[in-house]
Amino acid sequence: MAGRRVALKAIDWVAFAERVPPNQRGMFNALKTRSDGISAKLASLPEKPVAIDWNFYRSAVAKAGMVDEFEKKFKALQIPEPTDTQTSTINAQEAEANKSAQAYTEGSKARIAQYEEELAKFKNMIPFDQMTIEDLNSVFPETKLDKVKHPYWPHKPIAEL
């Protein structure tokens, strides 16, 4: 009757909490309180039901055979275990989450590569004292003066001087 014991997996809430990003902390707290409530409820229920003292009843109840009948029926009774409707949903969710996590990780790696590239560009830059204006324009394209738009010196709107 209690063969479901093994289904529970120990969860390290501390490690879990570390990995939660700050913007999802509320959700995490809600989950934790819910889980704690459920496990408390579970712990409050004894595993085995209170045993019925058949002999006492046999002697006490006058009706003949009633107790025996009850006992027989009771022993033969199989209480059905409740069906699990959610685990498949959860598994599906997990698969989906894995996929999106994969995509996110890919994107993150791409971003990291981009950042590293820019970082390398900055690292390999020649020092400013040895640059010419052309070098500066090639490293920081935004410093390039638009001679076509503003053909006269200072080649940029006066407000930006």
Partner: protein, 308 residues
Amino acid sequence: MIASLHDFCPASSLLSVLTTMRPEGMRGERRGREGHREAETRVPRCCRNLVLHPSDMLSRLVFVSASALKSSGPIGAGVVHASRCLHTSSQSLAPVPPLPEKGGKVRHGFIPEELFQLLYPKTGVTGPYMLGAGLLLYMLSKEIYVINHETFAAASIGAVIIYGVKKFGPSVAAFADKLNEEKVAKAQEVKDVAMSSLAQAIEDEKKEQWRVEGRAMLFDAKRNNVAMLLETNYRERVHMVTNEVKRRLDYQIALQDLNRRLEQEHMINWVEKSVISSITPQQEKESIAKCITDLKVLAKATQAKATA
């Protein structure tokens, strides 16, 4: 040697006087990489090696005219002095090495030190001065240079200019340097901020990846919750069954007890009633009289006991 002397014509020598005002002004500009870039017609200051260039003057003319034709490169507000070092070998260095910090050493403001070094072995320390004096004397005596009113004008102007330069040169140079330093510092700051923010961004991305790895825990928690709920439900059912059966049995027992009690009470009442109804009035009187006599006897007995 003389040919190389002519490289420094009076105009260029005056220019080099001016440039020594800000010797480190050129430091900020590195000569361009490519061949003939835009060039102001400045003295090629990096010609440190005064090796005889047969085609020197001619090549410089060509250079100047070429630059005049090709001055289409970007000319920023911070003037680019990009006159090239004349290549001394057929190969060109790439990247071109940066300019020297200070200009060539000069004596008395306009005579390069190299001349003195050149003449030292033959004529000692006073050689170039003698040379200069002799040249001056020659020019004056032969009236190649004629002294007129303009000479005095030139002398006065020269004196004023030299006084001005000597007095205010360093401060102006420092000011200009400070401007440049500020520009460079600003750019450096931008670069530093950019680098640090990039590094930070990389760190953050790595951290987010680490966070993502913990997603399995969420689903484990969910599954645990589901299992716990199911187990709870099951236990509740079991308990409910037991309790119900127990209740029914207890009900039977309680029912039995109730029946017994009712019967008992009913019987007692019935017996009592019948006994009471069987007592006749005659018997009642007799029993009351008997009670009274008994009481009298008892009273006498107690009185006697009390006095005795």
